[in-house]
């Protein structure tokens, strides 16, 4: 992380940083309950820049047809747009080949695909799948399902009070053997940044393949899948300023090649006869049925947007802003920070006095401040802290210090209403 934050002081000094980005997002230019919107829920779903909205609309208006099927002009245009976006994603995450970039409906489907197609055929009773205590439900339940189907065992690496994964225990668990390590890059509930390089190196030395849930990392920092050397990397379009319903599974080509298809249908085949079917090449083997073409086009536009801003700049800017937010809300009497890892990105969960997070959420919304409240699809994390939920403010490149100040002021209103 340190190499990415060289320019923090420069960016922070002006408190403008990426401020101009805010104007690229039309949804942010509205008032909620007579207050200008402060959107601090990008970890749930990020807003889209005008360029993404325009690109999707232009595709729908001019270029739509089915892909990979027609010789007519529109089908060619649609195919070029769809495949062009794949090339952009490949460069964005530095995948070695475009065959390694599989479109899915999102992170959840990407993880299910790996659980069912990569792991399930290899699993026998007693085999172990390793995850951590801070995973999102979508990186827990697919593994529980495949364990139920095969008799394999789900093993969970513990976390500490700060919300950091206990690396020492994780390493011991890897040494004991596992058929897969599935781990978040950044925790959606706590913001913890996992030292992935170190973890993946250790996993590989124990012959354990690694799937990374990258949903909360891709919008906030440079991701280089070859540098990480992960075997699979899953992420979603809508958390990185693209549309919903589109996501990516990156997988190493030799692994994807050896895997059976996940779903059967059109586009994933070369030849179909009742005597047998020949599957299509990568990545199409995993893209059955007419895909989310406009979603892919929007994803490509989102990648374009992020590359123009520069992921190093995004990472620096958000790092400083997160520090500012944590410091400012930390000053509030009765506020308890949940998730205080040394390395964090973009997310801060908290509790305020004994006010239930949903009441905080309603009062903040009343002041135009949008946050997420509840268990954040990470109930085991809530169990660990012995709480039912938290309030969570999450940042993106379009937020600024004014947003944080508005959050602080709205939290003061919550305290006032509850008479604290």
């Amino acid at each position: 992380m340190s190499k990415q934050i060289n320019n923090v002081t420069e960016l922070a000094a002006s408190n403008t940083g990426l401020d101009k980005c805010r104007h690229d997002f039309p949804a942010l230019a509205q008032s909620i309950n007579e207050h200008p919107l402060v959107y601090l829920d990008s970890a749930a779903s990020a807003q889209q820049p005008q360029s993404v909205i325009d690109k999707v609309a232009a595709y729908q208006r001019h270029d739509h047809a089915n892909v990979h099927r027609g010789v007519h002009t529109l089908s060619v245009r649609a195919t070029e747009a769809y495949e062009g976006a794949r090339d952009m994603v490949q460069k964005f995450i530095n995948a070695g080949s475009r065959s390694e970039v599989v479109y899915t409906s999102g992170t959840t489907e990407s993880i299910n695909l790996v659980a069912q197609s990569f792991c399930r055929p290899k699993l026998s009773p007693g085999d172990r799948i390793l995850i951590t205590h801070l995973e999102h439900h979508s990186n827990i339940v697919p593994w529980q399902l495949v364990c139920e189907q095969t008799g394999a065992e789900l093993v969970v690496a513990p976390i500490n009070e700060a919300g950091e994964v206990d690396i020492e225990t994780l390493f011991k668990q890897l040494e004991s053997g596992a058929k897969m390590l599935a781990i978040a890059h950044v925790s959606n509930a706590l913001g913890t940044l996992i030292p992935l390089r170190q973890v993946i190196e250790k996993a590989h030395s124990c012959n354990v393949p690694v799937l990374v849930d990258g949903a909360q990392a891709v919008p906030h920092m440079p991701v280089d899948v070859q540098h990480l050397d992960c075997d699979f990397f899953a992420f979603s379009g809508h958390k990185m300023f693209g549309p919903t319903g589109i996501g990516v599974l990156y997988g190493k080509e030799k692994l994807l090649d050896a895997m059976p298809p996940y779903k059967g249908g059109g586009d994933m085949i070369l030849e179909v006869h009742f005597t047998g079917t020949t599957y299509n090449d990568l990545p199409y083997k995993f893209e059955a049925g007419t895909p989310n073409i406009s979603g892919a086009v929007g994803l490509g536009a989102a990648v374009d947007y992020l590359q123009a801003v520069g992921m190093d700049a995004v990472s620096c800017y958000e790092h400083e802003l997160l520090q500012y937010m944590t410091k400012e809300i930390g000053k509030i009497d009765g506020l308890r920070l949940i998730g205080t890892a040394a390395d964090k990105a973009s997310v801060q969960s908290f509790l305020l006095d004994d006010i239930h997070p949903h009441d905080i959420g309603t009062i903040l919304d009343h002041e135009g401040v949008a946050i997420r409240t509840g268990h954040h699809c990470a109930m085991p994390v809530m169990d660990y802290y012995g709480i039912s939920g938290t309030a969570r403010a999450s940042l993106a490149l379009y937020n600024n210090r004014d947003d944080v100040d508005r959050l602080v002021s709205a939290l003061a209103t919550a305290k006032e209403i509850f008479g604290k």
Partner: protein, 161 residues
Amino acid sequence: MNSPMHSQDDLRDLYRELILDHARSPRHFGKLEGATHSAEGINPLCGDKLKMYFSIDDGGTIKDAKFEGSGCAISVASASLLTDTVIGMTSDVALDFFAVLVARLSGRSDNAEMPAADVDLGKLTALEGVKEFPSRVKCATLAWHALNSAIHREAEPATTE
């Protein structure tokens, strides 16, 4: 559909003093030993979880009611107000209150066919502040859905979904 725009009054109306009082000091809180009827209410989105207990005699009168669990101010206050309200009622009347309250809070009270539309909700009207906050209606009705399940002896926890 346009989302509602809230005024400062709406927020004070939602968190009016009676609600905050019941949220801070819930009445009849705890497990009811010897309950004849009980049911859980779970709001899967919020994580609110309440268990409602009732002691109903052979004549159908609710002799006692208690609840335990955790939730937001609205759901806890609503459960507390529920217990205050239904003790001494017959279960049929309590079910009328359930129907009327759910209809009023979710803005469906214009339906003339609704049973007992003339029910006077008494201090339960304090919950009407949620009408301006559609995402919170479920919080206010959770305990009442659990009451409905308990009286009908449904095995599954009640949800507001």
